[in-house]
Symmetry: C2
Subunit: 365 residues, 2 copies
């Protein structure tokens, strides 16, 4: 056996390679040179999110020997952040990097692509998307918007935001002016709070003046850069509306169909690379940022249990109401929630007890 194997290696060695390479130029010539543009929903300042589309574009270029080049633009450079999907739909750009839940006003079904209140954590979301039918279900829905999309990053569970005063009970949510959007804002309203959809640049000043009482942004690494800790000392967790937010690369459906199969495979693998890479970078960066925030006076607070439970109940009610009036929503909701419940059935056994033990051991020093 070993001798035979070495013979095989010898004949398939470098000399052989060069010969076969020259014998098949026809196939290689079918690979077109492409220059595409990608618009991101994220600014350069959110460097880990925006970095996801740079990682993706770099991987595609390198894997195709620079024949398939994707120029990336930050939100606002050529297309406003929240119009990234429309820009793909109308052919302004070939692709975008976005959080699909930004389009929940078009159809709340979009939210399941990114994550919904009390939805799956990041790893469970990947399980659903890649092997629970999620990607197929969502792309069936995305067809209505003429896009094909691939998961391409995750933030992990986000924080619950910065509060000027402690939130001690459910009653404190009544009248709370909270910078938060989308689905979470709808839940907040059910609890008597007021969602305030401010742009990132407006948050600090509104929080400082007391125009708003609290502001959600993302997690330690991104939040630290906006200095919320200087004006709102209480840093709440968890972000129950963002237990594991998936980013997507969305591609014009006709553009996707036109791509050679090899380029489709490159894009698919590059998106998966961005998926694991964005999450890894967030996880690598968040601990040090959290330490710095706590060292400069930020006080970590869990949301009171009754706030969590009331929010959960309100979310379930909204899911039900939306399901009643929207067949798309109902279809994806039912599949998503069935999968989530099974995920947590399993997660509570090995994963959760393992993490629980390590967390307690660490606390002991």
């Amino acid at each position: 056996m070993p001798i035979k194997r070495r013979q095989f290696i010898a004949t398939a060695g470098l000399a052989g390679l060069a010969a076969t390479a020259l014998s098949r130029p026809a196939i290689a010539q079918t690979m077109p040179e492409l220059h595409w543009r990608l618009t991101s929903s994220f600014p350069r300042s959110l460097d880990l999110l925006y970095g996801g589309c740079e990682t993706f574009a770099k991987a595609v270029a390198e894997a195709t020997d620079n024949r398939f080049q994707i120029q990336t633009f930050a939100g606002g450079d050529i297309v406003p952040s929240l119009q990234a999907l429309e820009a793909v739909q109308n052919g302004t750009v070939e692709m975008c990097q976005t959080a699909m839940y930004y389009y929940w006003n078009k159809d709340p079904t979009f939210a399941f692509a990114t994550g919904v209140p009390f939805g799956m954590n990041a790893r469970e979301a990947n399980a659903w998307l890649y092997h629970g039918g999620g990607n197929d279900l969502l792309n069936e829905f995305f067809k209505e918007y003429q896009v094909f999309a691939l998961p391409a990053g995750n933030t992990g569970c986000q924080m619950g935001g910065w509060f000027r005063k402690e939130l001690k009970a459910l009653a404190d949510v009544n009248g709370l002016k909270f910078r938060i959007g989308g689905f979470a804002g709808a839940v907040l309203q059910r609890l008597g709070g007021t969602p305030e959809p401010l742009a990132a640049a407006e948050i600090y000043s509104a929080l400082e003046k007391g125009t708003i009482d609290a502001a959600d942004y993302l997690g330690p690494y991104d939040d630290e850069k906006l200095s919320f800790n200087k004006i709102a000392p209480y840093y709440y967790y968890p972000g129950w509306w963002a237990g594991g937010s998936t980013l997507h690369i969305a591609i014009g459906a006709n553009k996707w169909a036109e791509l050679p199969k090899a380029y489709q495979a490159v894009v698919t693998a590059a998106a998966a690379l961005a998926n694991v890479d964005v999450q890894a970078r967030y996880d690598a960066k968040n601990p040090a940022a959290l330490k710095r925030l706590v060292a400069t006076g930020s006080q970590l607070r869990p949301f009171p249990q009754e706030v969590m439970e009331a929010s959960y109940k309100a979310a379930v009610d909204i899911f039900q109401e939306l399901s009643d009036g929207n067949a798309n929503f109902k279809k994806v909701h039912d599949a998503y929630m069935t999968f989530r419940n099974d995920q947590y059935l399993w997660w509570q056994v090995a994963e959760y007890s393992y993490d629980n033990f390590l967390i307690r051991q660490r606390a002991k020093g």
Copy 2:
């Protein structure tokens, strides 16, 4: 702006693509036709593990329009399962898919690549590998074995194995004959147990006869296939020696260096795709398998706290002893554990409290 953009799209449309493709055949011709062989450490019966190298090879072939083909062989087909790394080192095959901790007898430093007792969970491991310096540190070490390796899959936290009798206290570990290997076996010995390194095919009969008292294998999906539930009713968790086991694709260092940069990029992205894909598949498959096992009488049991704590202490002692006598080990150990501790500092805040809430809500129905 919109008009300009549409003009850009028009000129970069399909007609333009064909022309540029024809104008640059020289570059495409430099991409060689390669036929490589990959030997796996896993049998086909472990279809999710072995499936990881099939996913990887398929992605490489598709992304290169079948110019770079990797033929995959299951453990034992051409190389024994635990000699996969040597087969790459000696050039028998160009690459392998393996769990690096199988080679811990050569140097215990290998164990950090896959995971060590009370090590990082799957997502934390990715954070360390991709953005905490882990991949670089490990590849520096792997140079001594003439291989370059990339993470290419994870099982998530594994179960703690099948026990004929309940393990109620630390004293029950004394004299326990447990089918378990590697680092976990060394820890077990410190607690008075006996590690029994049986091959998978030997476990059922040994457990049935009582030659061994307990057997670790993997998790619900894989364990179910071997029917351990019929002869050992107690199914323990968590597998504290496998909190998130990373698989690797290892490539001969000289073979890696010879690859065109574009193929290196394809292999890197395909390995990342396999990484997220194997984990997603395990997470998607395990819940239903767990339900079936419990429905047929398997009884879930957490390891007693004192067993967990004694195992933790023994593991820390072994880490210290190995660090004292092995500079490679100490270097990687110190980096790994510092990173792990910071990961759990952060994990306990948002992730853990989020999962905790969802687990309890699910239990309520």
